[in-house]
């Protein structure tokens, strides 16, 4: 990692382009007011600070080689709402990047199955960018994405672009739809048997609501993928993001430093427990 500023104190960032993705979801491009943007790896997150309101953990969802941080924020509370409503030119605070990364390097040579649910596509997107930019280093690349309904499909234009590539297999599904939708209707795990990959040499990256991840893991394991090659992005209450406040504990792991990306076999036991 490059030189880190004080991890306790937010750095000032300015909002560049703002794009409304869905009715309540906005993507913001953030550039540091002074100095270069710190380097980051796909899978990591920043703590975004809305002045006087508070901080929230948001995964980075842009390309690692961009000059700014790209964050897709959904308005679900006071802090995320304040951030999602920022206009171009506004300033906010940012601490980060923090957390573990998607194993895009060690997955080279294998088939890759990337499974996203709902807003979970945002934390996976940097990994998708990386893989597509280095397509030759991977075997088959499969992207599976599920959403509530067609209106809630995130990054729809990019999904279309990715689908147009001949070297990527994309399947999209929604929980329910109306007759205008000509795609799949059904749950994400059901997509797995529709696509081809070598389960004995596949790395799977999954991001979405925990219930969806749980059933997706089951479907992948039923298909023969090893639990040691399945990675999830976990989420818990985040406050300090630097392993000092204790809030993000998940069993013995701190999501802020042992996660958010975690290898499934290492958390399999805890994952099956309730209220952990």
């Amino acid at each position: 990692m490059t030189v880190q500023p004080d991890p306790f104190v937010p750095q000032l960032y300015r909002v560049g382009r703002v794009r409304r993705e869905l009715t309540d979801t906005t993507t913001l491009e953030l550039a540091p007011v002074t100095g270069p943007r710190p380097t980051f790896s796909p899978g990591q997150f920043n703590m975004l600070y809305a002045f006087g309101v508070g901080e929230v953990a948001i995964s980075i969802s842009g390309a690692p080689d961009a000059t700014c941080f790209v964050h897709t924020v959904r308005d679900v509370g006071a802090v995320s709402g304040a951030i999602a409503k920022l206009k171009a030119g506004a300033t906010l605070g940012l601490r980060g990047p923090f957390g573990t990364r998607w194993p895009v390097e060690s997955a080279q040579g294998a088939d890759l199955v990337l499974v996203a649910g709902g807003l979970g596509l945002a934390p996976l997107r940097p990994a998708i960018y990386h893989v597509l930019a280095n397509r030759r280093r991977y075997g088959r690349v499969v992207i599976l994405f599920g959403s509530r309904n067609p209106k809630d499909l995130l990054y729809r234009r990019e999904l279309q672009q990715w689908r147009e590539r001949l070297d990527v297999d994309i399947e999209v599904t929604v929980d329910h739809a109306d007759a205008d939708w000509h795609g799949n209707v059904g749950v994400v795990p059901a997509l797995i048997r529709r696509v081809t990959f070598d389960p004995h040499d596949t790395v799977a990256l999954i991001c979405g609501p925990e219930v969806m991840m749980r059933f997706t893991v089951n479907a992948l394991r039923d298909a023969g993928v090893s639990p040691a090659r399945i990675y999830l992005s976990m989420e818990r209450n985040m406050k300090c993001a630097i392993g000092l406040c204790g809030h993000c504990q998940f069993g013995a792991a701190f999501i802020c430093k042992d996660g958010p990306v975690m290898r499934f076999d290492k958390i399999a036991e805890i994952f099956a427990m309730r209220e952990v």
Binding site: D24, V76, G117, G118, G146, S147, R148, D152, D175, H176, A177, D178, A179, W181, H182, G183, N184, V185, G186, V187, P189, A190, R194, G208, P209, V211, M212, F215
Partner: protein, 151 residues
Amino acid sequence: MEGLEQILAQHPFFAGFSAEYSQIVAGCARNHRYDAGEYLFREGRPANEFFLIRHGQVALEIVAPGRSPIVFSTLGEGDIVGASWLVPPYRWMYDARAVVLTRAIGIDAACLRGKCEADHHLGYEMMKRFLPILVQRLHATRLQILDVFGR
């Protein structure tokens, strides 16, 4: 009829089916072709047939007044469409619409029910194949009900 028997034997649903039973089932089967927008069956009608999709996509949908139909599942190549034929009163519970040009094999429900009554081994072979599909769809439906992507 022989052509149908071969097609049936190749369909994933009938994997491992004995030749004898394949013949019996083929005796209840016929080919179907649906253009995009055509319905395989509609809610409330007698469930006389179930379908094996050979090619295409079928949307299962439910109609409610004041709104356009809600699609809650799509099925494609290799899938089975229709379970209401198994259970009295043998009536369809929803609509099944071909989304694109769809070719399917329809198997006469009354015919097959009769054959299964006459030969319970055949009946068991059919149940063994149907139940996993139904259980899987029950799981999926429960997941959908959770509305995990909801706000």
